[in-house]
């Protein structure tokens, strides 16, 4: 098993980041182009705790190294199942995800947490546990795990850059919306 972990800070409030998180893979993000579809499968607010629980199906299209493809005989489309929890009371977003495709050969379990650092800053922590399940040589397993970790770190870097543009655009759009609403109110009042 290999563990990939990554932490970074976004200079946006937790409210902004947790909202932007729902549109992370929109056209404003020109970096994370490997995510081609995001579908919500279920969503509820727990009446006791107020926790918002969401299940999503994430579709990625990314070519694997050729040797890995020939080993796995898989296409470049992969499906990821994600369950996320927004705990408003403790201001914490947790997203857990695992691979649905290639699961006979590889197990990837990822956890992402967004928590406020201050009023204006949010901490992002990511950890992925990657285990090659293919029987056989340790050498092959190691190579499969290493290739996956490498892809993870590349996607993480792109993900941060892409999410930064989403946050920037969201802030702009939200403030424009607010301005519009204020103007409308003024017009009604006048």
């Amino acid at each position: 098993m290999k563990v990939f972990s990554n932490d970074c800070t976004f200079n946006y409030s937790w409210e902004e980041v947790s909202t932007g998180n729902w549109v992370k893979y929109c056209p404003w993000n020109d970096q994370s182009t490997h995510v081609i579809a995001v579908d919500t499968l279920s969503r509820q607010v727990d009446p006791k705790t107020g926790i918002l629980r969401t299940e999503r199906l994430i579709t990625c299209k990314q070519s694997a190294p050729q040797w890995l493809n020939s080993l796995m005989g898989s296409s470049d489309v992969s499906l990821v199942f994600e369950t996320s929890y927004v705990d408003l009371a403790s201001k914490k977003v947790t997203m857990t995800s695992s691979n649905m495709t290639w699961s006979n050969l590889l197990s990837v379990h990822e956890t992402v947490v967004y928590q406020p650092l201050s009023e204006r800053q949010t901490r992002f922590s990511q950890e992925a546990k990657i285990t090659a399940l293919c029987g056989g040589w340790q050498k092959v397993k190691n190579a499969v795990e290493e290739a996956t970790v490498c892809r993870f770190s590349e996607n993480a870097r792109k993900g941060k850059e892409g999410f930064e543009s989403v946050l920037e655009m969201s802030r702009r759009v939200f403030s424009e919306e607010r301005q519009k609403e204020q103007n409308q109110r003024k017009m009604v009042a006048a």
Partner: protein, 104 residues
Amino acid sequence: MSSSLAPECNEVKERYDSCFLKWYSEKYLRGKGQKDECAALFNDYKHCLTVSFPTLTSRIISDDPKGALKERGIDKMLEEAREDHKDSDAVHMRRTCKFIAEQN
């Protein structure tokens, strides 16, 4: 907004996503999220996905004849993934263990 895996559901998805985002930022984050205001739109979207899944499965299978989808289908794979995520529910939903709840 992101696309749907089923292109035919993009329109209903877009409507639902916009509704949800508005509800999330204006109601839920302000502690007023008890009422699900987007339920009707979500049902439309979910219905579209359910109808499209069999076609989707065959579309992915034709790209990937040796893949897991052919043997198991998307519903079965989702079921397995859900089962796999049950442990994280216990951790992140702040659930009390059944035996402790019974003692109290």
